[in-house]
């Protein structure tokens, strides 16, 4: 078990070195993709490794010569890493238009450290389920496929694409299994471990990750489970970035157990499969428009995140919700006030914690979490 966890942890502990090492060993290309919704399967089918760009743990320095401080953590971090040359092991980068901030990040990257390959997808962040948005998205995916074919010098056939979708679907279903297990047996893994398992899936080849996950799941099933004590909480939000591991530790140390989440480096990442059909690009497009979990950066006017959360909490018999809001993230910022009202009306306790790039004041977070813990049935 420890050995398996060690392997999961390797990539998230130092993604820069681990990915560069993988590249060195395999002589394959690495493509960094901006969170959250680039269809990785197309890159995988091109024989390259898609890695989801991450928030670094270093303080932003040079980045502030390019991005104002009142921008979200992933933008600041990617720009800072890019201008410092820390991402130079990436042969390419793919960006998307999912929000106001992410749409201009590529300009800065191109201006300073342009990768050999770059693509930008104009995906609609809010849509009406209309034909126009669907047709356009399909064309964007097709364009990415063509550009990758040119860059890699190999055709991405439908068969290859379906193979990749298959591998990714498998990864997603294994991760969902792990999450189901956690719902059934809260505390079976520490929050920081669950997070790093999901995060490593964003960084390492899915084939390897699948193997590791299979071993982990069989180990977990074999091992006995000693029921953990604590109030059951649901983590919500945290778009584009992973929360600090210390924050997850703190939640547990205060006597709470995360039973489920809809955070990006969490359920949101692996929630939806693409179907295997004779039109794989169409299947990826359809997946993009799936309405659950409700996604403010890929949203539909008629859905309601608050109601969805209420449903989940009731089903899980959870005691409350901890909202992690990526600071300066407009899609979440615009949604949050309504969620708060919905939850209050439904009598579901909730607390808001802002997640920034680097130092979040752990002391004040602790105070907030402590009073939340008291609210849901304190010590």
């Amino acid at each position: 078990m420890e050995e398996i966890m060690k392997q999961f942890v390797e990539y998230p502990s130092d993604p820069y070195t681990s990915i560069a090492k993988w590249k060195e060993n395999t002589k394959k290309k690495v493509i960094g993709i901006f969170p959250m919704w680039i269809p990785e399967e197309i890159i995988h089918a091109a024989g390259m490794l898609p890695v989801v760009m991450w928030r670094s743990n270093e303080a932003i320095t040079w980045g502030y010569a390019h991005v104002p401080p009142y921008n979200c953590a992933i933008n600041k971090s990617v720009v800072d890493d890019a201008v410092k040359g820390k991402l130079k092991f990436m042969d390419g980068m793919v960006f998307l238009r999912q929000c106001l901030q992410s749409q201009e990040v590529p300009f800065i990257v191109e201006n300073n450290r342009p990768p050999a390959f770059e693509e930008y997808l104009y995906l609609p962040p809010i849509y009406h389920g209309d034909k126009a948005s669907k047709d356009f998205t399909r064309d964007e995916f097709k364009r990415l496929r063509k550009r990758l074919e040119e860059f890699g010098g190999e055709k991405i056939t439908d068969e290859k694409l379906n193979e990749s979708i298959n591998i990714y679907n498998k990864n997603r279903s294994l991760l969902r299994k792990l999450y189901d297990l956690r719902k059934e047996k809260p505390g079976i893994l520490r929050g920081r471990d669950v997070l790093r398992i999901v995060w490593s899936s964003m960084l390492m080849p899915k084939e390897e990750h699948n193997k590791l996950l299979e071993s982990l799941l069989s180990e977990l099933e074999k091992n006995g489970y000693k029921p953990a004590k604590g109030k059951k909480v649901f983590l919500s939000g945290c778009l584009c970035i992973h929360p600090q591991l210390e924050l997850l530790d703190m939640i547990e140390d205060l006597g709470m157990l995360v039973v489920d989440d809809d955070i990006y480096v969490g359920y949101r990442y692996f929630a939806n499969d693409a179907e295997i059909t004779d039109d794989p690009i169409g299947a990826l497009m359809e997946r993009h428009f799936i309405k659950t979990p409700v996604d403010p950066a890929r949203g539909e006017v008629e859905v309601n995140w608050g109601k969805e959360l209420i449903g989940k909490v009731k089903k899980l018999h959870a005691d409350g919700i901890i909202t992690l809001l990526t600071k300066y993230c407009p899609p979440h910022l615009c949604y949050y006030p309504d969620i708060k009202v919905e939850l209050a009306n439904a009598g579901i306790p909730e607390v808001l914690i802002e997640v920034e790039h680097e130092v979040i004041s752990m002391e004040s977070i602790k105070t907030r979490l402590q009073s939340f813990r008291e609210m849901i049935g304190g010590h």
């Binding site: 238009r97 901030q101 201009e104 300009f107 800065i108 126009a132 006017v301 949604y335």
Partner: protein
């Protein structure tokens, strides 16, 4: 500082009554049973051309509220209503206003009260607009149509973006306007609005040309407040009248050699990037004038269809023609608004208008322009030796504007210009 500089504003007093009338008529429209659309971005024109629905312009409202000193009160209402302060201030302003109306909260100047909408139309280069339309929809149950208008990364992308926007408008927006208004969208009506509008904008462009003069007879602020008639009286005779009057004043000033800055014209010609700080226009210009500095040209005012010559008002597909203006027309707006084409555009402006330095206004809550600004400054400075600075603030939220910080940065910019002149 030996010369005592003073501003000599152009007479733009014609704007006030026009603006007041627009908002009054909007309130009356609701009372008469007409439907109301709150519109953001250039897609308002389709509602404007449809009978039985009156349009409110969301950015215009921010300027209106800011100009009447009411922004803080409405923003405070938004916060009371639960809005978070990091969301854009135009968003907060509208939810604050809606909260005031729906909860019957007292308002110190009822002139700024709006009729609640029956339809929300969002469509800008900014995605946050869609988010805030969606939020208003959730809270108040108003139908929202969010249209995506991506700004282009390269000219190559323009045709397919144009197709995407055209399809959204025809498939989603126009049917929604028709459904809410109960009237058919009228193409001929749209043409009849665009014909005089085009004429007006041509005159407005003649006015803009006066920024080339040294000394300049007016400032970007005069031009900025004059944006209102293009919207509020689109295609109406009073709009043309306003600009004809402006042109006359500029011609007279030029003839008599009267500059915008007394006694003998500006010492520093500044480029202004980003939104205009609607609530603080006076505050900002007062920080520049003592030094003889004025804003001359900017990217934002160009957003409002600076190239009327590009539109064919007789086009068979007039719906598409308006969209063509944004994308594949020769002066593509969507390209110039994003950072890629923006830099090209700014380079052109600083040369054409003999700019000495650049002020990039970065709104703390609107990230529409600010991500590329530092890059553009560095690139232009390297290429042309023209210095630039970023000033942080907000268009209407006074809690986000630090006068001292802004003054210090402006002074630093002017000192750099001086140093380079030596």
């Amino acid at each position: 500082m030996s010369t005592q500089y003073k501003i000599n504003k152009l007479d733009t007093s014609g704007v006030g009554p026009l603006v007041d009338r627009h908002w009054r008529e909007l309130r009356e429209a609701k009372e008469k049973g007409m439907k109301i659309a709150w519109c953001a971005g250039p897609m308002f024109v389709y509602a404007y051309a449809t009978p039985n629905i009156a349009s409110h312009f969301m950015a215009g409202y921010a300027a209106y509220c800011g100009g009447r000193g009411m922004a803080d009160e409405v923003l405070e209402a938004a916060e009371r209503y639960g809005e978070l302060r990091d969301t854009c201030s135009y968003h907060r302003l509208h939810t604050g206003m809606a909260a005031m109306i729906m909860n019957d909260w007292p308002v110190s100047n009822p002139q700024v009260l709006l009729p609640m909408p029956d339809l929300l139309i969002g469509g800008r280069f900014c995605t946050e607009m869609s988010h805030y339309m969606e939020a208003i929809h959730r809270r108040f149950g108003v139908k929202a149509v969010t249209i995506e208008i991506p700004s282009a990364r390269s000219r190559e992308d323009l045709p397919r973006l144009e197709k995407f926007l055209t399809n959204q408008v025809k498939e989603t927006l126009i049917p929604a306007i028709e459904e809410v208004s109960g009237s058919k969208f009228d193409e001929e009506n749209m043409r009849s609005i665009l014909r005089p509008w085009k004429e007006t904008c041509i005159i407005r462009n003649k006015c803009w040309e006066f920024f080339k003069k040294k000394p300049s007879p007016w400032t970007l602020w005069d031009y900025g407040v004059s944006i209102a008639p293009v919207f509020y009286a689109m295609g109406k005779p009073e709009s043309l009248e306003y600009y004809n009057n402006l042109l006359k004043q500029l011609e007279e000033r030029t003839e008599k050699n009267i500059p915008a800055v007394h006694p003998d014209g500006e010492k520093y010609r500044l480029y202004w990037d980003g939104w205009l700080p609607w609530s603080f226009l006076g505050k900002f210009i007062r920080m520049m004038i003592p030094y003889g500095a004025i804003p001359i040209a900017g990217r934002y005012p160009w957003e409002f269809f600076p190239h009327p010559e590009d539109i064919n008002t007789e086009a068979d597909d007039i719906i598409h023609e308006w969209i063509r203006l944004i994308y594949t027309s020769p002066n593509t707006l969507s390209y110039h608004d994003g950072p890629w084409g923006g830099q090209e555009h700014i380079e052109d402006l600083i040369q054409t208008y003999s700019i000495d330095g650049m002020l990039f206004f970065s709104s703390k809550t609107c990230r529409m322009w600010n991500l590329g600004q530092q890059e553009i400054i560095a690139n232009i400075e390297k290429k042309y030796g023209i210095p630039g600075i970023v000033i942080d603030g907000d268009m209407i939220d006074s809690t986000m504007v630090s006068e001292d910080q802004i003054r210090t940065r402006i002074e630093a910019l002017l000192e750099t210009i001086d140093a380079r002149r030596r």
